[in-house]
């Protein structure tokens, strides 16, 4: 199962760094050696390397990719249009977005951050996107329970949430869409859940 985790770096410098440190402690970077062939069709053992993360002890075959959101930084007095990245961002490899000119409203907990993670992660192959709400409450065991609900072919759950995460599936994006950015994130989530039910899906 391909899973994405969206981390929003909208806290203090120390908290943003701590969030990365905390998630880094829960994952292992895997290297997969893959055989290839030369132009004559001869097999080359271990010709390619592929790198990805896994969550320790998740108990479900999976790959993890991280998506980092750097909100617009009006408090950056030297130049708010040059994003200051979390000091340890490179520790947790992944893709990122840094909001700049024209996106001055993309601060705090703007619903765009949720939408960006959902859209980009599914563009790159994610089947389920985890939006981290509170890394301090995040539990791999709880996530395993939630993912099993999504995997069950007889269960129509496409959206899950607890105090740590909100989980959205690719199917929900395709069938229901993304958050309505005209609403606050809280209201947009309520709206998304309602639309999910109207389309025959379940929330958990």
């Amino acid at each position: 199962m391909k899973i994405a985790i969206t981390l929003v770096h909208n806290k203090s410098d120390a908290e943003n760094a701590a969030q990365i440190e905390s998630m880094f402690s829960l994952v292992t970077e895997q290297t997969e050696l893959i055989d290839g062939t030369d132009d004559e069709g001869n097999v080359i053992i271990g010709a390619f390397e592929r790198h990805f993360y896994t969550l320790n002890d998740l108990g479900i075959p999976h790959e993890i990719e991280f998506f980092h959101v750097i909100p617009f930084q009006p408090e950056n007095l030297s130049d708010p249009y040059i994003a200051v990245l979390p000091s340890n961002l490179s520790l947790l490899k992944g893709r990122n977005v840094q909001y700049g000119k024209g996106d001055e409203d993309k601060i705090g907990d703007h619903p765009r951050f949720y939408n960006w993670g959902l859209k980009r992660a599914t563009d790159y192959g994610a089947e389920a996107v985890i939006h981290m709400e509170d890394y301090k409450k995040f539990s791999v065991a709880d996530l395993a329970f939630q993912l099993n609900t999504l995997i069950d072919p007889n269960d129509k759950t496409e959206f899950l949430e607890d105090k740590a995460v909100k989980i959205t599936t690719l199917d929900l994006l395709k069938e229901v869409g993304q958050l309505d950015e005209a609403k606050s994130k809280e209201q947009a989530i309520i709206d998304l859940k309602q639309r999910n039910i109207e389309k025959g899906g379940k929330n958990g």
């Binding site: 132009d39 490179s90 996106d103 563009d123």
Partner: protein
Amino acid sequence: MARLWSSGLELNSTTSAMEFESISAGGTTVSSIIRSGIYALRSNSTGSGQQSRFAFKSAATADGFYVRAYVRIDSYANAIASFIALWQATGSNQKVAIQMNSDGTLELWNIEDSAQIGSDSSVLSLNTWHLLELKVDCTTIASTAIEAKINGTAFASGTINLAAGISSIQLGFQGSITGDLYFDDIAINDDTGSFQNSWPGEGKIIHLKPNAAGDNSAWTNDYLSVDEVTPDNATTLVSSNTLDQIDDHNIEAPASLGTSDTINVVQVGVRFNGVGASANASFVLRIKASASGTVEESSAITPSDATWVTNAAAAPRNYSLTLYDLPGGSTTAWTKADLEAAQIGYRLSATSTNAAQVSTVWLLVDYTPVYGTLKAKPRRPVINWKI
């Protein structure tokens, strides 16, 4: 991944691991006969076939795949032969192919079981660009759905039983064949994501090159070192081993685009290496739609060694940074005006013993022209002269 790989042969090179993994003898890039951009691939088989290969997956994969290639035929194959084929591994175990007969008709084949699927197509005319598309949905390999289209209309389809998934494409005639083809505007999609997750459909591919310094120019040298076609590797390059050093470059205007053309996808491409045989610094690719605007960055690229390669340190050398709409998760599609103000570049994301080097960076644009419709002219009154 949605769009896995695109190529308009705009790097003008047949060097291995430059644009294709390999292009055998008889394959040349040409600027005289093209469909879009500046270059196309001529695949001139003079008795021993001609194959251009690209691995879009690192291993045989059971998934849904869609291939687009524009093909111009200057002479038909002298005997039936594959010319658009999907393989289990690069150059090993051909699975599904579109084949050409000597009369210019096409056939869809399950190569693994040596069986034609469906009926022959109509004759493809010579010296004309044709949009050919091939679907292989081997999500369940024992019941793989395959289909082939010419100019958007299916001519053959069926369900076959394969023994393995696929990982690479081969263009050009397979076998002891004589025939002359041109390829341009190639695209490969898979069925994931919410964009480009089905047939690629009509599209033209161009490359936009750096033409001026953008918001940042911190690596050694400047945009003039990373703007060339064909990438010249060590001849002109930029280099860095300083954390968070950034180059952002303005790019040339997309002259061939109309203001209303649909931009399907943009992809930032890069030709790079490391200074050392190992322990090289990492970098990420960047794109923004305007100066000081919202930036999106790729995942880190770490050069394996000092070998110059394109897009990724190892196959599959798919593009690392692909966008279907404006940076930041907007639902707004790219426009010509956005491209005119866009900047592309790279940031040194992790230092190491040895520096990372970039020889060339470009923005690939896949777009669909929006054709104007003629205004309905008032009909002339019919005059009966025989009163």
